[in-house]
């Protein structure tokens, strides 16, 4: 539960030296730098989106998670050896996993295992919970996952909230949950839910749980606040858990009758696209959701899935 292994100044200098040293050496041998240069010359690589569906009864959610990442080129594409990875699930409510108020613990466990397999040094589960954090950890299953996978479970304490420059259109300075910013790689792992104010809560709205302070006041201009935060955090990749989704009484629900089973996972490096695809699960279109419209407007991503490299996985 501690975050004592942050990268220090000295360490980063050492790393920089190593990298530049390697670059200087490889200038003689010729190949890596040339490849690097050629990548830079190309236009930005096409972003991708993977939609995975578990159709057979009794399929393994963890296997589906693995297949989803495999379809995108494997976890090694996103996580390198020695990385500190912060995973931002939605475990804000002290609700049982089957009530779909929180990220499915099996998906969480699957992602953490993939990170470690890809060579991550440390994986942290980071969420500023709404209910008492210890109750959330215990009831949502995140605690059990942390124990099984040896991931850090970061307790959202006040000393880990630091005022940072958000530089958004609405939010200027806001307290941010530090481990999210200090990680090498950031994986957004929300659950798809109904929401009383924003209609839906999907990927980019999950960043409300990455900040502290008077965040209940964010509801007064919720869509712009969400987009500001999403532009600040910039995750490596977003995986939307739609194994179970909450179709009414969101975001906290509380009854199995609020839940629909969709057996779906959506993985993308375009945060807006992932959300846009997920709206379909609820019978909405991307234009219905304020933060998707705004996200598109401010260049956070696209809701036109045709522009993306699109893949489908069925189990």
């Amino acid at each position: 539960m501690d975050i004592n292994n942050r990268i220090s100044r000295r360490e980063s200098l050492q790393k920089l030296l190593t990298i530049s040293g390697t670059a200087a050496l490889s200038a003689f041998s010729g190949w890596p730098l040339i490849r690097l240069g050629s990548v830079r010359a190309e236009p930005a690589p096409r972003r991708f989106i993977v939609e995975a569906l578990g159709q057979t009864a009794g399929y393994s959610v963890k296997e589906l998670t693995r297949e989803t990442f495999n379809a995108a080129g494997g976890m090694t594409r996103f996580v390198s050896k020695g990385d500190v990875v912060a995973i931002k699930p939605n475990i804000s409510w002290a609700r049982r996993p089957d009530l779909a108020a929180t990220t499915n613990p099996l998906v969480l466990e699957g992602v953490i295992e993939l990170c470690y397999e890809a060579g991550a040094k440390k994986v942290r589960i980071v969420d500023n919970t709404i209910n008492d954090a210890r109750r959330c950890f215990a009831i949502t299953g995140a605690g059990m996952v942390a124990k099984n996978t040896n991931a850090d479970l970061v307790f959202p304490r006040s000393s880990l909230m630091k005022q940072m420059k958000i530089n958004g259109h609405r939010l200027d300075v806001w307290p941010v949950f530090v481990p999210l910013v200090e990680a090498d790689k950031l994986i957004n792992l929300p659950v798809a839910k109904h929401h009383g104010l924003t209609t839906l809560t999907l990927g980019i709205k999950n960043w409300i749980g990455g900040v502290g302070g008077r965040r209940h006041a964010l509801h007064q201009d919720i869509h712009q606040s969400i987009v500001d935060l999403a532009q600040f955090f910039k995750p490596t990749v977003t995986l939307i858990d739609a194994i179970r989704i909450m179709i009414k009484h969101g975001p906290s629900g509380g009854s199995p009758s609020d839940v629909a089973v969709k057996n779906t996972l959506i993985l993308s490096d375009d945060p807006v696209a992932a959300d846009a695809l997920a709206t379909g699960l609820f019978g909405y279109s991307p234009e219905d959701i304020g933060f998707i419209r705004l996200g598109k407007k401010w260049g956070l991503g696209t809701d036109d899935l045709q522009q993306l490299h699109r893949k489908k996985v069925v189990m």
Partner: protein
């Protein structure tokens, strides 16, 4: 056995029980294991359980047992510990005071460490005085008051007093100071300080938990505790000699004790070392009558006498009783009068018979007010264990009679939907044990909420907000919306979702009040009306 050995056995026992007390106090919290195995398919919420017997010292305390017996007519759980202690006292005198009582141990240490009095002054301070009758007055007040229906034992009971002082004042004060230090260090640009801060915080959290705690009147609780510690400079163990009602109760029982101080007048050289080290001012010197009711069985006189003129013996055969406790007729009469007056005066504020205070929101599972006041020890167990810090001691909310009893301050925390810890730890059952099911599916209701439309953001036209509805844990939600047009400050009409409260489903947990963005006096507030423990304090038919 040599006297010196007895003293060391006493010290070890005191240290053991003080550490045990502190350990159980620290463990009176939400179980720290967040890594529980939570299967994905279970259908009902699990009840929380604390893995340690955190009520042990209260079960060992005969004053808690007796006062709840005569007042609430309840045999509290685990009372045989107290019964056993009383029987032990019949044989061995106030051995609890000398060997077990953690508050006594703290006073003992404070009096022993750099004593304020030297030589002749210390001898004089340890001579018996009539002021030692005060504790009998307090005991009689407490017990007579309890019979008539108001249990104030916990205000003076040493276990309750120590638990309350440490849990609500000393620990939170230390934790708050450390937390502030850690936050200053965490903000620093020096890497070393950051690391120290995070490390220190994790270590401190194992004792104190994360974050700041606050308790209404905690400064006063702490001040009283400091004052009782300071009294040791006037006379060693002032509290135990003069004020402790439990000491008085045990003193009464020690009349029959067979552990007796035998004095050898021949050997005594009048050096008065025995009096100088006596903790209870029990007249240990040969020539004086030994006061068994005052003796704290510390064995100091036995061990300090250079002439071996004093010794403790178990005298099975001797039929005579010890010297009776010096209670004084005035102390008895005054105790009777005070004991009768307290409950009768205490009800004149009308909290029990006329109208409940809307702010007096008792923890879930609390008994009806009248029964509650016969059992609550005001010990602070429920306040210590509460994970959100919502349970606080009352100041005026429960009237004079209910001073320092627990109530919920929703701006400070909220009642966690699936938490049952307060009922789990209450030593007397003033908050009965209840299950998560009772809390979620009924019948338990803590109170109800109402919306202050003038302050509410959407109702007052100041913008959209759904925070109360979003946090409402019940299903179906007790807060629901109607979409309506309101006129904003700019005079324009806008469509917002206006919150309404369904009093039938609201359980009064107060999370809406706690999370409401309108700070200070929130736009949605919790009141006690609708609480399931009262037949009168209701709103709906």
């Amino acid at each position: 056995m040599k006297a010196q050995h007895l003293v060391w056995i006493r010290r070890i026992s005191q240290g053991f029980f003080l550490l045990l007390f502190l350990f159980l106090l620290i463990e009176s919290r939400l179980p720290q294991d967040a890594f529980v195995d939570y299967s994905l398919v279970f259908s009902s919420e699990q009840d929380l359980k604390i893995n340690y017997p955190v009520r042990f010292f209260f079960q060992l305390d005969p004053l808690v047992w007796l006062s709840s017996l005569v007042s609430g007519h309840q045999l509290i759980k685990g009372f045989w510990w107290a019964l056993g202690l009383l029987i032990m006292t019949l044989f061995l005198g106030r051995i609890f005071c000398g060997f077990i009582c953690p508050l006594g141990t703290i006073h003992h240490v404070v009096g022993w460490f750099k004593p304020a009095l030297k030589g002749e002054h210390m001898v004089r301070a340890n001579e018996k005085t009539p002021s030692q009758r005060v504790k009998y007055f307090l005991l009689i007040t407490v017990l007579v008051g309890a019979v008539i229906g108001l249990n104030v034992a916990g205000l003076m009971d040493p276990i309750s007093l120590l638990f309350r002082s440490l849990a609500l004042a000393v620990f939170p004060a230390v934790a708050g100071g450390l937390q502030e230090l850690f936050e200053v260090m965490a903000k620093s640009d020096l890497k070393v300080l950051n690391l120290l801060s995070h490390g220190g915080e994790v270590v401190a959290a194992t004792l104190f938990g994360f974050g700041f705690k606050a308790y209404q009147t905690a400064w006063f609780i702490g001040l009283i505790f400091l004052a009782t510690l300071f009294l040791n400079r006037i006379r060693p163990r002032f509290w135990c000699r003069v004020l402790c009602p439990l000491g008085a109760l045990l003193g009464l029982c020690s009349r029959f004790s067979i552990l007796r101080l035998e004095k050898d007048q021949e050997r005594c050289t009048n050096c008065r070392l025995c009096t100088k080290t006596c903790q209870g001012a029990a007249s240990p010197m040969p020539g004086q009558d030994w006061e068994s009711a005052e003796c704290l069985v510390c064995f100091n006189c036995f061990s300090s006498c250079p002439e071996h003129a004093l010794s403790f013996h178990l005298s099975w055969s001797s039929p005579r009783l010890n010297k009776g406790p010096d209670m004084g007729r005035r102390a008895v009469l005054a105790g009777l009068l005070a004991g009768i007056s307290l409950p009768l005066l205490g009800r004149l504020d009308g909290r029990v018979h006329k109208v409940a205070d809307p702010r007096l929101i008792r923890p879930p599972g609390s008994l009806p007010e009248k029964d509650f006041l016969t059992l609550c020890q005001r010990c602070g167990q429920c306040m210590k264990v509460c994970p959100t810090n919502v349970i606080n001691p009352t100041l005026t909310e429960a009237g004079m009679a209910g001073f320092w009893t627990p109530h919920l301050i929703m701006t400070q925390g909220y009642c966690e939907y699936t938490c049952t810890l307060c009922g789990n730890v209450c030593p007397t059952g003033a908050i009965r044990e209840f299950s998560v099911k009772e809390k979620i599916e009924g019948p338990i209701k803590i109170g109800s909420v109402y919306i202050d439309r003038g302050r509410c953001l959407p109702w007052s036209g100041n913008g959209p907000c759904i925070v109360c509805e979003e946090h409402c844990p019940t299903s179906p939600k007790a807060i629901y919306f109607h979409k309506e047009m309101v006129i904003g400050p700019d005079g324009k009409r806008q469509l917002v979702q206006l919150p309404y409260v369904d009093l039938k489903t609201c359980v009064g947990c107060g999370i809406c009040e706690y999370k409401c963005p309108v700070k200070g006096l929130p736009a949605i507030r919790t009141i006690s009306a609708g609480e399931s423990r009262s037949l009168e304090n209701q709103i709906l038919l």
